[in-house]
């Protein structure tokens, strides 16, 4: 259900509409659409697919199909090297490693369909000397 809001700021009356869709709050105000997490159980869905700089895993950033795996178990990867290709919404996306190391785990094979946030590849980082 949408809710309408109005507020005068300075000389301008801002009209806004907002709606809770699933676990998100959507707000349209001042020509912009904003989205926030609604306070739920504390676990934020957006985090699932997230991958910070230190991560040694490659997760599926969206649902799709793995079309090509360039690396197999035990292969060495360097920073920025292409590891696999996914296809989603009829476009191809190349997933790259953001660390140097050895492939420790490949959880899927080519042509597999993967869900959002699924762990596809795990990398054992090279020890810094």
């Amino acid at each position: 259900m949408i809710q309408k809001f109005e507020k005068k700021i300075g000389n301008h009356v801002h009209k806004a509409i907002a709606e809770k869709v699933g676990d998100k709050i959507w707000i349209h105000v001042n020509g912009e659409t904003l989205v926030f997490d609604a306070e739920t159980t504390g676990r934020r869905r957006g985090k699932v697919a997230g991958k910070d700089a230190k991560s040694n895993t490659i997760l599926a950033p969206m649902p799709g199909k793995i079309t090509k795996l360039f690396k197999k178990l035990g292969d060495v990867v360097t920073v920025g090297e292409s590891v696999l290709v996914m296809e989603a919404m009829k476009m191809e996306y190349t997933l790259k490693s953001n660390m140097a190391g050895t492939i420790k785990k490949v959880a899927f094979k080519e042509l597999d369909q993967v869900a959002l946030g699924a762990l596809i590849v795990e990398i054992e980082p090279t020890k810094e000397t």
Binding site: I2, Q3, F5, K7, I9, G10, H14, A16, I17, A18, E19, K20, V21, G22, I25, W26, I27, H28, V29, N30, G31, E32, T33, L34, V35, F36, D37, A38, E39, R44, G46, K47, V48, A49, G50, K51, S55, L59, P61, M62, P63, G64, T67, K68, S82, V85, E87, A88, M89, K90, M91, E92, Y93, T94, L95, K96, N98
Partner: protein
């Protein structure tokens, strides 16, 4: 509903082999012509506007395009099962598939589009180039041989020189098309293009072409009427592209002189006439330094057809259907000049602040601000689900105004007032493009996006008073404490994705 009296038309019931906004577009044309519609849809598209609007529906297969929208047999069977007498293929999917056009005719169905032979000669980019050579139309240097081994293709790429581009021979719309900027990328890009081509079009055949680095994309709408007369209906400029996918299109081009317009229009008409073209088609050119080169011919209706309709006062979809009924003939004085300026923005379900990461999910509230000279083409409404099976385009916003600056101004305001909840959209990105000095000047090239928009858009900041207002609304709507602030989520923008997924 009162139907127009066109009871003598050869088509009484038309099947639509497509989905989304174009299916809606075709249904509306049929309604106005008094023709019943049959929607040939996949499992995934039961929650869509076209499904709710069509008179009859047939599920022709599973969610993946190969099972349904690309399946010739299922489409024909579906159309026959509901006693349709014609099929409109829309754009994408089977629209440029000569085998499909033939299968329709073989099954006793009218194919709303060009003949099988015209699709074969113009639709296959390699054949099309041979025809262009015969017509004396300039071409971009390239390789279009039958030897499709990666070794030969790599060698040819090196001969043409970098940057060059590898493209699906049966393709369109940016799929199966990759830029090779240096020798070390050749192998990977060629293989990738072959795979994308195979999965999107069912053929892995590719060709190579020199990449013009500051070209404009200018295309001419052509139309062959029922007595075989081909006319061009002026041009559209579609230089604003990313990954070779068009984002903003306009009619006419701000860059053509009347003399160039005449020359290019004549070239477009000539190649279409030579191929015996009927129905709507598009002759695409690259335009650089006052010279033009034929890019390809699209043997179908284009996504961006509305901008032509707006400046000419023509209904191309109705013209296609009437033409298929042998009832569309140009009169001499029709469509000889255009009026005003029209712009189309493609609204994609993707996150502008995350480099265009596709966004899927159930739509919440959707609102488009109606008004004079505004047109909204959309296939999904509130509670419909945007899935990852198909193209991420969820709507097209089209405006017309008396001049280009006014049309730009109108478009920005219309986008400001357009609301789509539930999935992220590229609306902020579209507005940034429309406000860019180079776009405003009309001098943008196909490099425009990579030149100025290679980084994800930065979320705008809000004045403190507005921020307070937002917080109040959040509380009211969420009925709980505000969410935890993180560096990226706190200002209202999600950042769940890794950097490697940046797409422009």
């Amino acid at each position: 509903m009162k139907k127009t009296d066109l009871s003598n038309l050869a088509i009484k019931r038309l099947a639509i082999a497509n989905r989304g906004e174009v299916a809606v577009r075709i249904i509306k044309a049929c309604e106005e012509l008094g023709i019943e519609t049959v929607l040939l849809h996949s499992d995934a598209d039961i929650n869509s506007r076209a499904y709710r609007m069509a008179d009859h529906k047939v599920c022709i297969g599973g969610s993946t395009p190969a099972e349904s929208y690309l399946n010739i047999k299922s489409n024909i069977q579906g159309a026959k099962a509901k006693s349709a007498d014609a099929i409109h293929p829309g754009f994408g999917f089977l629209s440029e598939n000569a085998d499909f056009a033939k299968a329709c005719v073989d099954a006793g169905l009218i194919f709303v589009g060009p003949s099988e032979s015209a699709i074969r000669s113009l639709g296959d980019k390699v054949h099309c180039k041979e025809l262009a050579k015969k017509c004396g139309i300039p071409l971009v240097p390239g390789y279009d041989g039958d030897d499709q081994t990666v070794e030969t293709l790599s060698k040819e790429a090196a001969r043409i020189g970098y940057p060059c581009i590898v493209k699906a021979a049966a393709g369109g719309g940016g799929r199966g098309m990759k830029l090779i900027s240096q020798a070390s990328e050749a192998l990977e890009r060629i293989e990738s293009a072959q795979r994308e081509s195979l999965s999107a079009f069912g053929s892995s055949k590719v060709f190579l072409e020199k990449y013009l680095d500051r070209a404009k994309h200018i295309e001419f709408q052509v139309f062959g009427d029922s007595i075989g007369k081909v006319r061009h209906l002026f041009e559209r400029e579609c230089s604003v592209q990313r990954r070779h996918q068009k984002i903003i299109e306009e009619a006419t081009s701000p860059s053509l002189t009347p003399e160039l317009r005449r020359k290019m229009g004549e070239a477009a008409t000539l190649i279409a006439q030579t191929a015996g073209y009927r129905s709507a088609g598009t002759v695409e050119f690259l335009f650089q330094d006052g010279e033009f080169f034929l890019l390809e011919v699209n043997t179908r209706l284009q996504v961006e057809h509305p901008v032509t309709e707006m400046v000419l006062g023509i209904d191309l979809v109705k013209a296609q259907i009437l033409n298929a009924c042998q009832s569309f003939v140009f009169s001499e004085d029709q469509y000889k000049s255009f009026q005003g300026h029209s712009i189309e923005c493609r609204v994609y379900a993707e996150n502008s602040y995350e480099g265009g990461m596709p966004s899927t999910g159930k739509l919440g509230h959707v609102h488009f601000p109606e008004g004079p000279g505004r047109r909204f083409e959309y296939g999904f409404e509130e509670d419909d689900v945007i899935t990852s099976f198909y193209d991420p385009m969820i709507a097209k916003v089209i405006v017309w105004d008396e001049s280009r600056p006014r049309a730009i101004q109108k478009m920005i305001e219309v986008l400001n007032q357009s609301v789509i909840f539930g999935v992220h959209t590229n609306i902020p990105y579209l507005k940034a493009i429309l406000s860019h000095p180079e776009f405003i000047a009309g001098t943008m090239t196909t490099q425009f996006i990579s030149k100025y928009f290679s980084e994800p858009l930065k979320p705008p900041t809000r004045e403190p008073a507005l921020e307070v207002f937002v917080e109040e609304m959040k509380k009211q709507v969420g009925k709980s404490a505000p969410s935890e602030k993180s560096a990226t989520a706190g200002n209202g923008y999600q950042n769940p994705w890794s950097e490697q997924w940046r797409m422009w």
